[in-house]
Symmetry: C2
Subunit: 149 residues, 2 copies
DNA sequence: TTCATAATTGATAGCAGTTATTACTTAAAA
DNA sequence: TTTTAAGTAATAACTGCTATCAATTATGAA
């Protein structure tokens, strides 16, 4: 039995094929898909699945702490099955979201959270750090375009 | 003439009373309003103003670099006339957005941006750091409720 | 295994935030 | 002052998401 099954059963949440499939897609993919992307990926195996089910599943998985939500300002949300704190970088050109693995978000959180708590009086639950820019692939394409003009 | 007027004229963007009013509200308020809040504040002085005009004005002001957009995952966006890099903290209970002035986002940006550029190959344009939690006022209210139960 | 039932799913209507369109109006260059 | 490119108001349309509800299914008890 997979870890996800145990976690869901423990919380009296039903283990359904749809939920397993959504989580499996998220676990596999590195590009941090949004609901629409997940829906499209599921279509071949679950032609009857509804978009609403994907939305509801994201909600369930988030609530039990199996995934985290990313908001890169696209309108829709992106999802990540890696729940360890880490930051993300977003390509404003092609929409790609990439993990920034070696960026010290964990240390940052440990060492500086207290300072921010003192300054603001807030009880801090979590931190999100986003970098925005353009990815190497898009930069290369742009250079090619400029060179040819 | 105000700085904003000069900046707009330099870019051949017309200086209109609506634009001045929107910017003035943003400059005054510390609570990082969203479009709806700005619209409501403007109503007494500009009863004829359309919501669409506020949206378009936010767009113009953002493009000329007079304001920055904040995305705290509410659906709508929040706006800040303080464009110097700084981080924000969001109360998940009451929706308040507060500046975290002394958090070292500027130093962070200077010292660590290069590392992230190397790791990812991205060209980085800007960084956004959000803290999420509950504000002192909401925490106090909760304590009172618990004490009285 | 079968059954009862509460949770989940799929289909769809509805909602909120945002954008597009268009006819009218205005700021500002000539 | 006149001209006109740009902006505004009103509103229709679009998008991401949520609510609703009848049909279906996972799960625990018999």
């Amino acid at each position: 039995m997979h870890a996800i099954e145990e976690i869901l059963r423990k919380k009296k949440i039903k283990v359904t094929p749809q939920r397993m499939a959504v989580y499996s897609i998220l676990k596999q993919s590195k590009f941090h898909p949004n609901v629409e992307m997940i829906y499209q990926k599921l279509k071949p195996d679950f032609p009857a699945m509804s978009l609403a089910t994907v939305y509801k599943t994201m909600d369930v998985l988030k609530k039990v702490g199996l995934i985290q939500e990313l908001n890169v300002g696209e309108g829709g949300l992106r999802y990540d099955a890696q729940i360890r704190p880490h930051s993300h970088i977003y390509c404003k050109n092609c929409g790609k979201v990439v993990d920034v693995d070696h960026f010290p978000l964990e240390e940052l959180q440990d060492s500086l959270l207290e300072k921010v708590k003192e300054e603001t009086g807030f009880n801090i639950l979590f931190v999100q750090l986003y970098f925005f820019g353009t990815c190497p692939e898009c930069n290369d394409k742009k250079e090619l375009l400029e060179a040819s003009s």
